[in-house]
Assembly symmetry: C2
Homo-oligomer: 316 residues x 2
């Protein structure tokens, strides 16, 4: 650890699940010296071997219970549907004073699944770094994933403020801004900013793939007209996203109903040539983009800063 780095915030971190998030966390804690040592676990032996080959941690396990032994911070980086089972599996090796958190995109269901398995003196506080890419697996991670991104922590009524402060300091060390929410509000906010966008992206890519009158080759060739933007998030991890929808059902269905109402009304405007209604919406939505850029959550460059034209070594 370079001498310029501040002291570690935790002695030993155990990361359970070495996918995009788990491997990015591993890179980030190493880069920032946020923890003294790092144990990594994944149920898939092949994934553990890849992580070891990449040198992501200090010790490696396929059994999550072994990995958490001696850890004062445990972060679950598994699909949210697996959180309860993993919590149950590790509970016997969690010692009092340990802080347990996660990175799941759904918080209420995770709190309900994990909390009952926490032994006395072990503190569970849900976490959700709102950051990611469409790639998966231990090779996809990188240290900068969390920089200038929001991490939402979801304490419950009984959460010790001291432990909440320690978890906040941890994420801030990785470069994140931290926000605090209750689990239900988190799930509602993420339903519209993340879950429904993923669902409609998956959906339109499916619709396009199923057309009889247009070939897949045509869909791909002419995707630069807008469609290809949707294919990025529709390439995200299927298991993770299946679990998100099944575990945030109420909020997703509520937001989806609103989306549908609005879409039907646009459809009607097109059918009845109501150009003013279309123009008004299309004008209003521009300001949201500007707000996101000003909030530092997006590049101001056109087309996401994608490279245009023939650049050697670039596939675009």
């Amino acid at each position: 650890m370079p001498e310029t780095q501040p002291a570690p915030l935790f002695e030993r971190l155990a990361i359970i699940g070495i996918g995009l998030l788990g491997s990015s966390l591993a890179h980030a804690v190493r880069k920032t010296g946020a923890v003294g040592s790092l144990a990594l676990a994944d149920a898939a032996p092949d994934v553990v071997r890849q992580a070891e080959k990449l040198g992501l941690g200090d010790v490696y396990f396929t059994d999550p219970a072994e990995a958490v032994s001696g850890a004062d911070l445990v972060i679950l980086c598994v699909p949210v549907g697996a959180s309860g089972a993993v919590a149950e599996a590790i509970s016997r090796n969690l010692h009092p004073g340990t802080l347990v958190s996660d990175v799941g995109s759904v918080k209420d269901a995770v709190h309900k699944a994990v909390s009952p398995h926490m032994p006395d003196g072990v503190h569970f506080i849900g976490g959700h770094p709102v950051a990611g890419t469409e790639q998966s697996g231990p090779h996809a991670g990188f240290a900068e994933l969390f920089e200038q991104r929001w991490c939402i922590l979801t304490p419950s009524d009984g959460t010790d403020p001291h432990h909440l402060a320690r978890l906040r300091a941890f994420w801030e060390r990785l470069g994140s801004d931290v926000d605090i929410m209750d689990t239900k509000h988190h799930d509602l906010v993420l339903a519209i900013t993340s879950h429904v966008p993923h669902l409609i992206a998956y959906n339109i890519v499916g619709t396009a793939a199923d057309l009889e009158s247009i070939t897949r080759s045509e869909v791909m060739k002419f995707s630069a007209g807008g469609f290809r933007d949707f294919t990025r998030i529709a390439a995200s991890d299927p298991t993770m996203w299946r679990d998100v929808f099944l575990n945030n059902k109420d909020a997703v269905l509520e937001m989806l109903a609103r989306f549908n109402e609005d879409l039907i009304s646009l459809q009607r405007a097109i059918r009845w040539n109501d150009g003013d209604a279309l123009f008004d919406l299309f004008t209003r939505t521009r300001t949201i983009r500007r707000g996101i850029i000003e909030a530092g959550q997006e590049t101001a460059e056109p087309d996401f800063g994608r490279q245009h034209g023939a650049v050697a070594g670039d596939s675009d």
Copy 2:
């Protein structure tokens, strides 16, 4: 013009409409030496002044009829709803042998609006470069916009193959790949690869902006979860897109009906905990992304190659 460039393909090009497409065309013909001289016209005097300040052309006009005088190639770069009126306005100054084309995102309605105004001996062939960014106006253009992108030409039954070949050579000079389609098939393909994606992007951004329980600031802060990808195309030019929907009504409504059917079925799968149905779709859609990358229409870098982390001078 550098000596290494091949000879111009047309003596004089007139571009009518100096927005993103018109100004990009101006940059591209200059870079490639595709034409001998360049006349630019826009109905807005302010836009003409900006174009002149940027040095985009050789001569500048607010009257499109003056601009086309002496041109052997005319390209309309106006919102598709304005195509008919512009065609009528320029017709008296089009001389026999002139090739007239456009860059509109809808082709059947444009053919029907423009063709009746073409004098004898003047050849109209619709064109659509499938390329763009979310930005608008004469400052937004750049020469590389068309490189490695498809340009679709839509000749009609009576089109002279010689003129079609000349127009193809023109777009190939700008770096585009050229495909030939009939107008109705074009409109169907673009409805799914471009028009419906834009509509649902506009729609979800509107839905998010209207929520009572979630603030706009929350929507913006947590947009990195997926939503921000949609805001890019929902920041596109409102006039252009209003005209697209009004002029490709049948194909858009047809594709939208399919999108809705599929979405309702996903909604049902979520409500009834049908995880397999979700997982199957989410797995299938990944292959489409790969196909687009292999077709050279997208970067293979994660997250569109957006910069992550704190980079000086970058807003991301």
